[in-house]
Symmetry: C2
Subunit: 179 residues, 2 copies
């Protein structure tokens, strides 16, 4: 097995509002070459927001998979140039569920689909929650429903959830608490 | 909040070897409309393959995220037209780690990145493992390393893993076994 992989070029074939898509080329250090479909993504954050009794979830539309009520943790894309991921997480927690958190900890970071996309998501644990004054909701936020989900019913949340980042957060919590 | 969402059209702007990318348009039942970047993906399977002492993992190149040694469960795309997902899972388990399984159970299904992609992955539990005769390895399989990972060291696998589907499988296993 070779030990290195060198990108040798890429063709971006389409640029959307958030992502770009095209082909990237590589050379292994044994001389063989490969080409891969690739989606370039700015990256994202997700927040496991806990108080003593609840994990804070949302239901929101995910148009491209045909559902209006995807059960998810609060999350957002790294779509503000130069904003550190932790700041994005704090902003999204306030915008999506109207909360601030006293304690923040990065739990895990992962690629959502590393065969085809460079989207990397950082998952934060947020505790010590308090309300923040709500500003004018953004257009897309009007469709987000806020759900304080009882910690004693984590299994039901996992059953209803079909979003990878949220499953990782809920399974991490289940593994830690032994519920 | 509206109760329905109707796709009103789509433009595929690029077609790769595996995925397509472009824009899809929607109308909510309150009359508002939206457009979204979209990646069309054929779907995938992942396999949590267990014997009494190990979970069977792989290390393999993931060129588009720049790593040669991504720690993952066996997995594959639904890239054979008309093949049922369970058959794909059986084929991938044989091709990637040379095993067959007596018992199969679908554990979870999820979208890897539902804001931008319709990729849905079915996760199977495979037990009662036995060796299958290895055929000629496919070109891409030559770069897959097989790792029987001790169940007593699941925490280390989770630490080293940054692939969403594999984290879901390993965290599910940790939650179930209480390790």
């Amino acid at each position: 097995m070779s030990d290195e992989i060198t990108p040798t070029g890429a063709e971006v074939k389409w640029e959307g509002k958030i992502i770009r898509a095209g082909t990237e080329h590589f050379r292994y250090d044994d001389g063989t070459e490969a080409s891969r479909d690739k989606v370039w993504h700015p990256g994202a954050v997700g927040i496991l927001a806990l108080d003593d009794e609840h994990v804070w979830l949302t239901r929101q539309p995910r148009e491209v998979v045909g559902t209006l009520f995807s059960l998810e943790i609060p999350a957002g894309k790294l779509d503000v140039l130069g904003e550190p991921p932790l700041e994005t997480a704090k902003r999204e927690l306030a915008e999506e569920i109207g909360k601030a958190a006293e304690h923040w900890e990065e739990l895990l970071a992962f690629y959502t689909s590393p065969g085809i996309s460079d989207e990397r998501l950082r998952l934060y644990l947020a505790t010590g929650l308090s309300d923040v004054p709500s500003g004018a909701p953004e257009e897309e936020d009007e469709r987000i429903e806020i759900l304080p989900w009882p910690l004693g019913r984590l299994d039901e949340a996992i059953e209803q959830c079909d979003d990878a980042k949220s499953l990782i957060a809920l399974l991490w919590l289940t593994a830690r608490t032994g519920r």
